[in-house]
Subunit: 578 residues, 2 copies
Amino acid sequence: MSGPPSRLRSVLGHLWGPGHGHETTTPNHIHQLSPTFFLERAAAIEPNAEAVYHVTANGRVLRRDYQELADRARGLAYYLLRRGYRRVGILATNTPAFLESIYGVIAAGGVLVPANYRLKQDDITYIFDFAEVDLIIVDAEFEHLLAGFKKGHPNVPLLVDTDTDATEGELSGPFDEAVLEGLTFDRENGAHGWAGLQSARVANEDDMIAIPFTSGTTSKPKGVVYTHRGAYLAAVGNIVESGLNVPFGRCKYLWTLPMFHAMGWTFPWSVCAVRGTHVCLRKIDYPLIWKLLKEEGITHFNAAPTVNTLLCASPQAERLPQPVQVTVAASPPTAHLFEQMTDLNLHPVHVYGMTETYGPITKGYILPEWDARPKHDKYALMARQGHGFLTSLPIRVIKPDRPEDEAPVDVARDGREMGEIVFAGNICAKGYYKDPEATRRLFAGGVLHSGDLAVWHPDGSAQIQDRAKDIIISGGENISSVALESMLVEHPDVLEAGVVAVSDSHWGERPKAYLTAREGRAIEPAAFIAWCKHQSAISKFMVPREVEVVPELPKTSTGKIKKNVLREWAKHGRREGQ
Amino acid sequence: MSGPPSRLRSVLGHLWGPGHGHETTTPNHIHQLSPTFFLERAAAIEPNAEAVYHVTANGRVLRRDYQELADRARGLAYYLLRRGYRRVGILATNTPAFLESIYGVIAAGGVLVPANYRLKQDDITYIFDFAEVDLIIVDAEFEHLLAGFKKGHPNVPLLVDTDTDATEGELSGPFDEAVLEGLTFDRENGAHGWAGLQSARVANEDDMIAIPFTSGTTSKPKGVVYTHRGAYLAAVGNIVESGLNVPFGRCKYLWTLPMFHAMGWTFPWSVCAVRGTHVCLRKIDYPLIWKLLKEEGITHFNAAPTVNTLLCASPQAERLPQPVQVTVAASPPTAHLFEQMTDLNLHPVHVYGMTETYGPITKGYILPEWDARPKHDKYALMARQGHGFLTSLPIRVIKPDRPEDEAPVDVARDGREMGEIVFAGNICAKGYYKDPEATRRLFAGGVLHSGDLAVWHPDGSAQIQDRAKDIIISGGENISSVALESMLVEHPDVLEAGVVAVSDSHWGERPKAYLTAREGRAIEPAAFIAWCKHQSAISKFMVPREVEVVPELPKTSTGKIKKNVLREWAKHGRREGQ
């Protein structure tokens, strides 16, 4: 059973296409997995629980309970159904409207297409054009980024959210009006509520639910097909792995991670599943984050290592009274960072994944026996990418460069042989949207290829060494830029490090390090290189040939260091195009 | 992909039937859900974690880590594969061998059939005969209960576990020998380990995994068909709902609940999924349970209200330093019990379900706003059966006695109209084994019928009033025996109460109460009836006409009061046949 009840169906007419009637033959003991139901359920169990805390674009504090969040998502869904929109783009920061869209669009049987507002306008135009959206929900701050798209698609309307709706009963703009229109429409047509939507019942759990895009540093962004089943199992996995089901309490989840990025690693669903509070955030603002950590009782947030590094270095940093679980991913973290975080009562849950795996798919499980080891060893073990998630199949590390049609072969589990991390099972995305060739390559040999190089330790945990293209080959030795960076940041004056290869007539390649200094500190390159030579962890062939101190490292919107920009800098002997 | 790799397959020959080859067409992004993988995974991540703590039949303390538990389960699986056993009965108390059988039998592609060793021998014979087992794993203590079955099935072998295997390298009996035979067989035939078994990969998640039987108080026990998918989703739901993923630690789960009962509510899988310790227990022994609670750092256990009542009344009871989460179900608990438990730092997680729903399918979610209410009100709200589980669809309460072929109609959500609680979705069993007619009745109208009468409160929570046949109709008023029992145990001298109808010439029916007294207390029936008349919660028509004090109430093996026995006692004016 799925789709609206009979009265509503006749009103909506053709809007619900084939496959959305009662014709399904699902047996009684099975319902199709879909995470949209988590919101309807939360509002039914605990309508007064705080669902949203947010400081709006005009600086007002907004608090909404689960009843209100669910009502608003439901209103949006009926608006979309009534108007016939099925493929909805969204360009917004971490606002309540984004959350409502995740639930509203999918409850209307539609597919959500989030885009990264930090991309250049051409890429945003490309994404919404390629994904064939028929409506775009846009935060007023980013409307100008759609000028190019509008020119080519004058018939695709924009639904603007002003993110100023802080007063009861006051409509702040078109997005609010749409929500109200939908609620009125439902009320006047039988008041079917959630039962008229795709929430508890969807037609097929393997259907598409959303198309987030990869960040596309080197090529066009690729659309990644998420399914109801995949999103459900990833979201439930994240509850267990990040401990969102707080014993004797509720999680308060701070939205430092962009929602557009891999659907916020499915946390929009995970948090509602446990009736937690979404503490929304328009932008990364370290003083504000520390204020929220100290005053709002935050229990969880997710962030890339770079965000955590800057958070720990922030003047507001001080040890929190309550432990906070911080799910860390996006690029390999250093042992040094984990030690700093733990000292502040920020406890790393180290995960690893990619847009193609709904975000996290591995976890560095912390073993009690590590407590007996020296502190630095413990944090180094925590910085490994670890094992497959509860709801995934095991990871593998396979020999690279094998013919695509041959079965993958594992590398030795010796912590030395380098191979590619690959994934399998339910929290792998279905493929790339409208790109069967790229999908075939993604799943070559029946496993999902990460493109990341790793070693496999005897204990079964994997540790990333580098992106395949970032490895430095010097005198026949492989140098992991990631490993070298984690050694360089041990220097007391260094905040962050980015390492790339520069050519060397004798060794073929040698590492060059770009460094940023901690506030109030200075780094002298020659002295730094001398320091490197005296570190036992840094082998002679790994010592950087060149060191350059820069005010800031170039990063992707998800906090990864842009190695391609560093390579350009190194090649041309100057910095540009950041 | 499923089934053993090629070399092993050729050795095993015909043992893996069709459907267990590589011919499946599951796409790359999907793996079939099955909880057996949780053990293989736990051993891979944390081989040294304590998996089992057990006091053996000969009184020795046994501790096994995850590597050992997994190895033993794997050995059993290869033994079964080699010998060709596919449908395996088990008759045992909560022993390590039971746990190993749950994993070993299913990893071998077999189906497990647990029987309740407290049933009379005829019923045990019936169960194993009806389920067509080809091997029975039996704890030595219960071997005599299989005499009847053996007579009719001389060719079905027994595999006896002596539960005495406490010494490294020492074989304690046939069960241990079988494990060793299996491990040797695998080693000599390619050492495929878990990859040769049905663990990470099964052919079809909707396939049968186990056939637990109902307790069958009024008719023959019925076999309930569990699937891989259902067991997986129930087990993951239980992790979240009972909080087994202890933050910064590990769960230590005490096996007070029988493993044979609804496959231990899927907790054999849930606990391994989070690498918790199974603290096994041969029998309910209150001094021992208190010793384990105090000395072994137990974090969780599951038990029926009757077990919790006796636990709270035990002389060893004292407030624990650590909070323990106690998942309570099997019969409706009283507010009084929840208050007593909380005072001892035993925190109830109130769930409700039946064998046909893999155990728990609803939870009484505790709302923070209840803390503002009088204590007794709070505990009364906690004693409601609540809402559907995270991994279930919502419960409904429907008008009873509707034609089977008509769609169910909900009762009013007014906390007054009585109806039947029904379930839907993934944690409903597939049906009754070899009984299509009973399966059709179970799912009449497309919902799973509980047979329990409940009211539906305006907040969406359900509260059980009675089994349909236990309701007392007095002067046209419905009296819930459950509700009346919870009022009677408020009397300071009463330990437990069981209420049934007796006929009354004027009112049609009137309640009769059977009571047990707390240790060292006495109850005088006439004085007790007078007390009832002065309780504001007990309406005049609810006051028992007769009260009888008994040394013990008759109970099923799962702790439910046997109302049919009480009715017999009431009818004949004497007690017998307990």
